[in-house]
Symmetry: D2
Subunit: 240 residues, 4 copies
C-alpha cells in the first residue's frame, strides 16, 4: 500500500496577499505536495479553512506522515484538532512541521517547551550545514547549501535537546540556528525543518525539496511491538 502523506497549510498568506498567491499559485501546500510526491505515495492537502481544518478523524487515521506549514494563524487552529494530531503522532504518524510550524499547537504540545526563537524579516542569505552527514534526511545533499533570501531564525531555540541535530544554519546577519532536528514521541517520528518563509520561493528550491522528500521517508511509521497498558496480572507467582 502506498505511503499516505497529508500536507497541511494554514493558507492565509496565499488568500490575503497577492504576491504570495502569485509566488505560490497552488499554495505553499501545493508546492510542498509536489515536492514530496512520488512512487508508492499518495499525497493530499488540507487547509485551515476546511471543516475541522481538513484534519478529520478519518483523514488523520489515513495519514502516515503529516507535513505542517503555519505562521500567522497558529492560534486559530482548534485545540481539538491539535490534540488529534498529537494523539496520532503518539500512535505512530510522522510529523514534519516546517518553518513557523515550530510555533504550531501540535509541535509545542509534543515538545513541552515554548519553542521560542529570535527572528528578523527583510531577506538575507542562509547557509544550511549538514551537522549529521550520516542521517537519511540528508541523503543526496552536499555538505552545505544556501537559501539566497530568507527570514532569519536565531538561537536560542527553546526545544528539548534533540535526538539528532541534522542541520545547523548560518545567517548573513550573524546568527545560527538548529534548522533540522529529530524527535520521537510515542511511536511517532518528528522532524522540524526551519526554512520556508512565504515571502520567498523557497519551496521550489531543489535542496529544500530533497530534504522534505527525505523527511517523509524517514518519518514513515514502522510496525513495532505490542504495548500493554493499564492493570495487569503478574508474570511470576506472588504466592509466597
Amino acid at each position: 500500500m502506498p505511503l499516505q502523506v497529508t500536507v497541511w497549510n494554514e493558507n492565509v498568506h496565499e488568500l490575503e496577499e497577492p504576491e504570495v498567491a502569485e509566488r505560490y499559485p497552488d499554495g505553499i501546500h501545493g508546492a510542498i505536495a509536489d515536492a514530496v510526491d512520488g512512487d508508492d505515495r499518495t499525497v493530499r492537502t488540507a487547509t485551515l479553512q476546511e471543516p475541522e481544518h481538513g484534519l478529520t478523524e478519518d483523514v488523520l487515521a489515513n495519514t502516515d506522515v503529516l507535513l505542517w506549514w503555519s505562521h500567522c494563524a497558529n492560534d486559530e487552529v482548534a485545540d481539538e484538532v491539535a490534540d488529534r494530531v498529537v494523539d496520532r503522532v503518539h500512535e505512530g504518524m510522522g510529523f514534519v512541521p516546517v518553518h513557523s510550524g515550530k510555533n504550531s499547537k501540535p509541535f509545542k504540545r509534543l515538545m513541552g517547551t515554548t519553542c521560542n526563537i529570535k527572528y528578523r524579516h527583510g531577506g538575507e542569505t542562509e547557509r544550511i550545514w549538514t551537522a549529521d552527514p550520516g542521517h537519511p534526511i540528508a541523503d543526496g545533499l552536499e555538505e552545505s547549501f544556501e537559501v539566497p533570501s530568507t527570514e532569519m531564525y536565531g538561537e536560542p531555540f527553546d526545544i528539548p535537546e534533540p535526538d539528532r541535530t541534522v542541520f545547523i544554519s548560518w545567517f548573513e546577519g550573524g546568527e545560527v540556528f538548529r534548522s533540522g532536528v529529530c524527535y520521537r514521541r510515542g511511536r511517532g517520528r518528528i522532524f522540524a525543518f526551519r526554512p520556508g518563509h512565504e515571502e520567498y520561493p523557497i519551496f521550489f528550491q531543489d535542496e529544500i525539496r530533497t530534504v522534505l522528500d527525505n523527511a517523509v521517508a524517514w518519518a514513515a511509521p514502522t510496525e513495532g511491538a505490542d504495548a500493554v497498558w493499564g492493570e495487569v496480572e503478574p508474570k511470576e507467582s506472588l504466592d509466597d
Copy 2:
C-alpha cells in the same frame, strides 16, 4: 538565601481513607517535606484543596523546586494552575513528580507523551537498581535497595527517551520500570521518581528520603545566560 522548596500533594487519600491518614498523619506532603528539609532550605506544603491548589503566582514565583505527589485527582487540577507550573519550569524551577505524579497535567505537558504505564495493586517487592551510579541523585546509595511492598509500575513507560536513566526497578511479579528519569525543559530540571504508593509507608524509608533529598539539590535552578527572543537587529551589516 535558602533554597525554597514546595511540596504539593493532592491530599485526597489522606482525607478519605482512615488507614492512609493513620499511615501519614501529616499527609504524604508532610512526610516528603520532612525528608527534603535541611540547612539552607525552607520547605512549605500546598494541597489540592487550597485556593488555586496552593500554587498561586506568588507561591510559584518563590519556589525553586516543586515536588508533586498525585494519584486519583490528577484531573481535578485546574488547567490554569498546571500551565502555571509548566511556565515556571520553563523559567528554571525544578520539578520532581513522584509516583503517579507522572500522570499529572504538568508532567504530561512537559513530556508531550501519554506517560502511560502498566500497573498492579496488591503489594510486592520492588528492587531499585542504580543504572547511573555517577549521578548526583544517587549520592550515598548502595547499588540497589528494596521497597518491601509496593504497587507495581511496568514498562513500556511512554516517555521521551530520558536525558539520564538513574534508576531501573525490578518487580517480584516479573516487570521492570525506569524508576528515576531526568529531563530538562527550558531552564528547568525534571526528575520523575516512581516509588510512593499511599498504601505503604514508603516515604519513611531511608533510601527513598535520600533520593528525594538529592533530587531537590540536583533540580535547583542555576543562573545561566541571557536569552533574547523575538524580533532582533542584525549583528553583522546587511548593506551589500
Copy 3:
C-alpha cells in the same frame, strides 16, 4: 544490490567444548547467519581463527552490517582488526555486538566506556520487555518474551546513555539490564543485544532471531550527505 551481512564469531567454545559444538553444529555464527538470512541479503561468516580473523580490508569494505559474537577471546582480537572494524563503523557499516560482544574491543572503542556489568552463570529465566514499542528493532514482537535459561547480566551497565533503549530485561535472580541499546558513531548504526550465552540454544529461539533480523535491517547504511574535513576556503568574503 543485496545487503551484505557478515557474522563474526570467536568460535572458541564450539572448538573446545563438545556440548557447545553439539548445541551449535554450525557454530553460533552459523545459527546467527541462518537467523538473519533472507531475500536481498547475502550472509557470510568469519571467525577468530581465520587470517586477520576473516575481517580483511576487503571483507569489511564489502560488509554493510557486521554481527559480532565473542566471549572468552575478546583479548585475542588483534588491535589492528578491531580498529579496522571501528573505522568501517565510522564510514557507515552497521555493527551488532551480541552478548559479551559488549566486551569486544570494537564496541568498547566505539563507546569510550568500560562496558562493565555484573553477571551470574547457572541458568535462570530472563524476561525481555520492549521499553520502546515504536522501535523498528522490535517489529513483530509481543510486549515481552522469555528466555527460559540464560546467563544473567545486571546493571549498572557502564555505557554512554543510549540514543534509544529498546529492551530492558528482568532476571529471576533479581537483577535488571538494558538488553537492547542503540547508538550512532560517525555514519554507523550500533545495536548491542544482550542475550546469547553459548550454554543455551538461545539463537534458535524465534524472538531472538526476529530481533537479530530486525537489527540488521535497522543498522543498514544509508546514503547521507557529503562531509568535507580539513583545511577549507571561506564561503564568504573575508576581505574587509
Copy 4:
C-alpha cells in the same frame, strides 16, 4: 577540601614560537590556570615535556578536573598516559578539552569517533551563541559574545550526539560549529570547548575565562552510588 584542578598543555608553540611565548608569557596553561583559580580550588599545571607528561598516577589520583590544551603534538602523548586519563574520567574526574584538545587521544578515546572537523587559519570573527541558556556552564554570559580574531572550526564535527549543546559558533567566513558540548562517560563529566588558538590572546578574554571557570565547577566529581561489577550471587532464591 578544595577542588583540585590540573591544567595540562602540550606547551610546544610557546617553546618554539617567540610570538606565542610573548603572547602567553606563562604559557597557555598559565593563562588557563589563572582563569580557573579561585576560592576552594587548588590549581596546578602540567606539560608534555615533564616525565609522564606531568600526569603521573599520583597527579591524576589527586585531580578532580583536568583541563587539556593541545594542538600540534597530540600524537606525542604516550598511549599509557592517555589511557590513564580515560580511566580517571571513568572514575569521575572531570575533563575539559579546549580547542584542538578535541583531537587529543583521551578525548577521541572517550568519544569513539574521529572528532574530525574543517578548519581555516588566518583570523576571522567568531560569534559564540548560547544555545542552552539554562546550562550552568553559561552562567553570567550574555546571549552571545565575539572572539574578534580566531582560527575557524566548521561542521560537520564528527562526535556522538551531545548530551547538551551549550554553545554554537558563527564564523565570518560562513561556517558554524557546536562550540561547547557536554558528555558523561562512566562517572566523569566532559565539556569540550572550541575557542583557543595559540595565535590570539583568547585566554585573556573575559567571556572565555568565565566559561572555563564555570566548566570546572560543572565538571567536578560527585559522590554517586556504589557500583558492583563482576560475578554476583542472586538477590532472589533460584531454588525452584
